[in-house]
């Protein structure tokens, strides 16, 4: 397990109020939007969350990654006060999500991955209802979103496809004037066109100062939107930081075109999986050792060099397993 300085800093302080004294810069100088410390939740003997630590700063888009069953939805439902945690401490927008659920829900909107609508209510009615239950609907914004997401609000809930049900929940959430969006795989049923609209809307929400917790399976979406990312595995956060920080922890894939072998590489620290394939040498390099490795390469007559920074997928696979074709991420 790798822990980044940021997460360490979060652990130093016990209260959200004192957290900002331990760090100096960035959006974290205000109290966190979400702060979870050592949170545990069991279903009978199954431990769904096992000492989870999660920090989301105000105003950031935070990617929340992990395969099915890792505890993403449980985490979000605990944040909603729909499930009760057994251990640890949670502050959501500075308050306790279980005790202060109703007051908090006026300040946030939630979109689940599986949206169930009432069969007899139309999409338009459901959008209005949810927004009103939260405290009010911005009709102009709602109509604009209906347009952008291309949804007919007059159809009954039972006639909508999965994607359209999801649009109903998204429009209702995005049309509300709130501080925090909790999105649990919000685009699982959307087509690529709608995915683009969604990304636009999230950028607008961020520009408007909203905080977004985005749990997702779509890595491209997270790479495009997230300021910071947390990776959950078996109920714990195993990695947390900005994408570049995470990349730093991973290895860069390097391909060198050269006829001769480079003996120095075999002994160099930070070089792994060195193989020759015809005229090419392949290896992966620890990002921290990259400067010295490049210097060593420079002393040889290389014809070409390709360095590929780690993709989010590779970062994830470092935690989840083996080869890129692992089914959890396919």
């Amino acid at each position: 397990m790798t822990t980044l300085p940021r997460t360490d800093a979060a652990k130093v302080a016990e209260g959200a109020d004192t957290a900002h004294t331990s760090t100096s810069s960035g959006p974290r100088s205000t109290a966190s939007a979400i702060s979870m410390r050592q949170v545990g939740k069991s279903y009978g003997k199954v431990r769904a969350l096992d000492g989870l630590d999660l920090e989301v700063a105000r105003g950031e888009v935070h990617g929340f990654l992990g395969p099915n069953g890792a505890g993403k939805s449980t985490t979000i439902r605990i944040l909603l006060g729909i499930l009760r945690h057994d251990a640890g401490r949670i502050r959501l927008l500075g308050e306790d999500p279980w005790a202060r659920a109703v007051a908090l829900h006026r300040r946030l909107a939630y979109v689940p991955g599986d949206v169930e609508l009432w069969p007899g209510l139309t999409g338009g009615e459901a959008i209005d209802l949810f927004a009103r239950l939260r405290g009010g609907v911005d009709t102009a914004k709602r109509d604009e979103l209906l347009e952008r997401f291309d949804l007919d609000p007059r159809k009954k809930g039972r006639t909508y496809s999965k994607g359209n049900r999801q649009k109903v929940a998204l429009i209702s959430a995005l049309a509300s004037d709130i501080e925090l969006l909790l999105l649990d795989e919000p685009t699982a049923g959307l087509d690529p066109l709608m995915e683009a609209v969604f990304q636009e809307c999230i950028r607008e929400a961020k520009a408007a100062g909203r905080t977004v917790l985005l749990s997702s399976h779509i890595l491209a979406q997270v790479e495009a939107l997230a300021d910071r990312v947390s990776i959950i595995r078996a109920g714990r956060i195993v990695e947390s930081g900005t994408l570049s920080e995470l990349r730093h922890l991973s290895r860069t894939t390097i391909t060198v075109q050269i006829d001769r072998d480079i003996p120095a590489l075999t002994t160099m620290p930070g070089v792994h999986d060195l193989v020759r394939e015809g005229p090419q040498l392949h290896f992966s390099a620890e990002t921290a050792q990259l400067p010295s490795i490049i210097r060593a390469l420079g002393e040889n007559d290389i014809e070409s060099l390709t360095a590929t920074p780690p993709t989010l997928e590779q970062i994830l696979l470092r935690h989840y397993g083996s080869r890129p074709e692992t089914e959890a991420w396919s």
Partner: protein, 596 residues
Amino acid sequence: MNLLARADGPHSGRSARQAPARLPGHHGKHEREPRGRLGAGSLTGLDTMLRFMLRRDRLWLPLWVLGLSALTAYFANAIAVVMDSESLQAMTVFAKNPVMALITGPGYGMDQVTIPRFIVGMYGVFLMLGAALMSILTVSRHTRAEEQSGRAELVRANVTGRHTQLIAALILSVFMNAMVSGFMAVAFQLSEADPEPLSSTLLFTIGIGVLGCVFAAVTAVTVQLSAFSRAASGMAGAVLAISFVVRGVGDMSAVAGGGSGGSGGSEGSGSSVGSGVGDLDWLSWLSPLGWAQQTAPFTLDRWWPLLFPVGLFVLLAGLALTLQTRRDLGAGIMAERLGRAHASPLLTGPLGLAFRLQRSGLLWWSLGLFVMGGIFGSFTGAMDEGAAGMPEEILALMGGRSGIVDGYLGYMALYFAIIVAVYAIIAAGGLRAEEQSFHTEPVLAAAVSRPGWLGSWAAVTLLGSAWLMFLAGLGEGLGAASSMGDWGPLGPTVLGHLAQTASVWALLGFAYLLYGFVPRLMGLSWIVFAGSAVLALFGQMLQLDEAVLDLSIFSHVGQYPAQDLSAEAVLWFIAAGVVFVGLGMAGFRRRDLSTA
């Protein structure tokens, strides 16, 4: 013979197409059938499907079959043990009462009553209702519920015919009803009731089974009409309710008017003739429940009335298959219309939502109860006149002429309280269904508190049940007033019905208490309800101890205007209902929501 492993479907299509007519029963082959016909191919996979359904119902099926048989055994043994011939004779006055006819049936053979005749006459209809409900739920669950969930699509994507699921569900329910008939006959034959001859027992139980089959076919049609299993079961349930009321009115008329049916050929009983409702007894012949009862086991022993339900079964099954070929998978015959683009101002808070979700149900119940109240109320006039011609001693036994009318109106208040309690428990169960179908999660994820949501839902059901009792009383009172030409009974009738709301509230409160703490156990409220209803309806007849009768939630308020109202009971029950709901709210705050 695995569904997925059957490889000879589409590939053998060419050879099958060359000789389609010669393979009518050969499920292994699959050919393109002409559209709209029940060809061999439309039943492909029937045996596999049937076995699969039996596997899914390995608990459901024995529970229904054994449950209904156990109920038969209970009735038969209890009556046989409790009743000697003397008390049985006394009971016949009760059994020949038009009000009882309304509920139980035409009362064949009550003039020379025997224990089997009594059991058939008084309890047969409840076993029939049980078999009908079993069939409705079984068919709906294996057809429309499967389509609605999308599982039917997976099944149909394999080598299965268009009609396979529907036919398999029908065969399954016919099989279940046959089992019910068989086990019931054994239970009855072995009971203390000592029924003779066996053929009469068989007529009785086969009548019940055939009735069950009719409602399987009714449901096979309604699942074609609506794209949603709840609506489809609801429509079939409405057909059952209409059958019940139609034959109730017919039987009541036959008994009250001494029409040809009621006394089963033997000489007329105490009721007077020519009271105006006597000419409605033909209504009993328009209802499937009526057909099964007109066989009159142990009295007339007629088999031919069963030809009607058998014919109707074939007709409805054919209609269902025709309708099925005319629609797409997952769609209903009834088309979806567009609705409002914006929510109305009413749909704003949790209360508005709770009302909106229960609105259509309440509307149908309102209509049904008002009409039922009106029909039942309009018998009062006939009963009043009938009482005039009764022998003195019987009249005295029933509390005089005004006593009979008041007794009827007071008893109807109890009767409607039991019906409204059914509404109430179903409506309270709706709150759990909301949670289980993940509709509650987004509501609570908005700024709605848990007590607020439970309280809103409870408020709609509490007020809803009071409203329904009021409507039933109003219908009853208007019917009584207009048939007697006297507005006097209207006020007391409405009051008597409204007062009974208190017992419904206590029951409702109990249901919400369970929901708040252990929603899995909400079924317990049905048990409390069933126990209370049986005690209230039959407790006195069974000559049970006063202390036992008092266990019934329905026996405390008082059957006004026949009996005094107990203000104490009314207040206690209302308080209990409210406190229980409050406790339920507190419990709901503490527990996890069931999530996907």
